[in-house]
Symmetry: C2
Subunit: 340 residues, 2 copies
């Protein structure tokens, strides 16, 4: 059985990047003539079938939306998919999901595969590796060929496209504000090491809230966790050594560990220690006590992304593009781990 | 822009089921000639393109596996996908996921869409509606055209295909046995109403374990929950009115609610009440106390399903087919909600 040769195989064979192959096949002047001819000859020899995206768009609609996300064992992404599904079903679209597993190469391959006539457009959240590499040519290519992409949560400023995000700084500010209004004064922050932009923004929101209320910034109660799987010891140490009266955690895992460690020491929650976590997931709903959280509204995010994509797909005239960035409001879900 | 007409649109236009359209287009004698001709004429008029599955299989391999599952906001299915992804990555396959949302129609549409040249084969768990209707023609069609399917968890005995399941009866038996060996005598069962085969098998396992140890079967402590979203009241009543010393719950939600209600009454866990739940998910790991569970090994199930599918896809000669059913072992994860 003869297999279809892919961009990736050509790139490997000729020892050039996938992006070079892709540009060569489109006769891009960015690539030297020598390379272009070599790639084209190779592609012809192996019967490479290019994606005729523009062509397929003109001829038919698949009525299918492609979703590419970093991972699936993650409540937030699952709720976003639910939201996309709701709108897609209402409007007669199918949905196909592919996972990048946080890998740049898998993201490129999945995008190529789905763009090859399977979908009309994409809803995407970038892989960590793509964010680190800052290589977005695969998205740009798809957009150039007339296929719309809506990015959510992990978006790239470099790419002109519709985007759906939340205001992480504001959300963190409001959560910390809530603790201050409860009368808390020693509010610990439990966060991740901050190469991830989202973690950085949440830390900024925390600091801004303290400053606005003239509360001191105490580095001893700002905990940056390196190793999520082994966070119990450092959190236990924080609770044992610092006289904190509340915790703002950037994810519900840190919050539930803080609660467990506090309960072990006989600290009463919420009377003696108040806890708020970012991201409303399953843990917060079912832990004892239940945890007050900042809800990212994954379903709403998914719904909005699907609406924006379908609107673009069904626009009659292709006027000059104006891309929008929608900011989804977060909301605080008050539960047993806080007093109000 | 002319759009491709879909099975669903034809069905809606002619007010017949998707299954009728699908069968009519294949000239199935199950459908009256009148309907068949009407559907065929309509399909021709709107230029409906049927799937040339057999053709595409002969011409090329996509190196892509299609997964169709009922829902995604469900830890078990997410772990199965992880397992499939692991094996697929190891062997150079891509994975595409579609959701049936527990709907028969969506399952048919997704299968049609993916079979249309996007994938080499399928890994599937049936929607509830498909199980109730017992209409599996869409699977049979895909198999008849030479595309392999591996079914997992919710499988159909009527379909000859490779399957991956767990032994629900045995797993429940072992869980109840564990409680008996702890010295428990009044073991409550919290289960669902049993049109779902899995719930029925788990109940059988519970009864068998009691009988084998000469313990009485007491209908008063077998709770069949109709409405999962409002299970607190009935579970509270069970705990208040019956002198039970342990609970076997068919899902972790029932278990965590039982624990919450018991703690409210000052009942000590596990000293006075021991709790075991089916399905090892996020709730069990993070509730206080953590919950002893029967793990369904979703990752292992996914890995096995992917191995079976890829083996079949890459078999050199198509000899007489022998389908296998693999039973994945469950295991008990002991945590704070039990004594041992």
């Amino acid at each position: 059985m003869k297999r279809k040769v892919t961009l990736k195989q050509i790139a490997k064979e000729l020892d050039v990047s996938i992006s070079t192959v892709s540009k060569s096949l489109k006769n891009s002047p960015e690539i030297s003539e020598d390379t272009r001819l070599k790639v084209q000859a190779f592609a012809k020899l192996y019967n490479y079938k290019p994606n005729n995206i523009a062509l397929s768009l003109k001829n038919k609609k698949t009525k299918t939306i492609g979703i590419i996300i970093p991972e699936i064992v993650h409540h937030f992404f699952a709720t976003v998919i639910s939201g996309i599904e709701q709108v897609a079903n209402e409007q007669g679209y199918n949905v196909i999901v592919c996972l990048s597993d946080e890998s740049f190469d898998k993201e490129v391959i999945n995008l190529e595969m789905l763009a090859n006539g399977s979908t009309d457009g994409f809803i995407m959240s970038l892989s960590k590796e793509t964010q680190q590499k800052k290589d977005f040519h695969h998205l740009q290519e798809v957009i150039n060929q007339g296929m719309p992409i809506v990015m959510f949560d992990r978006v790239a400023n470099e790419i002109l496209a519709d985007k759906v995000i939340i205001d992480d700084l504001l959300a963190a500010y409001q959560a910390v504000n809530f603790l201050i209004e409860e009368g808390r004064k020693k509010i610990a922050l439990i966060t991740t090491v901050d190469y991830v932009s989202v973690g950085k923004l949440r830390t900024e929101g925390y600091i801004k809230a303290l400053k606005d209320h003239n509360l001191p910034i105490d580095e001893n109660i700002i905990l940056k966790i390196e190793d999520i799987d082994n966070c119990s010891d450092v959190i236990e140490k924080l609770i044992a050594e610092q006289k904190i009266d509340s915790v703002f955690a950037v994810n519900e895992l840190f919050a539930v560990v803080a609660i467990k460690e506090a309960l072990k020491k006989g600290i009463k929650i919420p009377e003696e220690l108040s806890v708020i976590a970012f991201t409303d997931g399953i843990i917060s709903k079912f832990s004892t006590p239940t945890i007050t959280t900042v809800s990212q509204n994954g379903v709403k995010m998914g719904r909005k992304a699907a609406e924006m994509l379908i609107e673009r797909l069904e626009a009659e005239d292709e006027e000059e593009e104006r891309y929008r960035t929608e900011v989804i409001e977060t909301n605080l879900i008050s539960r047993e781990s806080t007093q109000t």
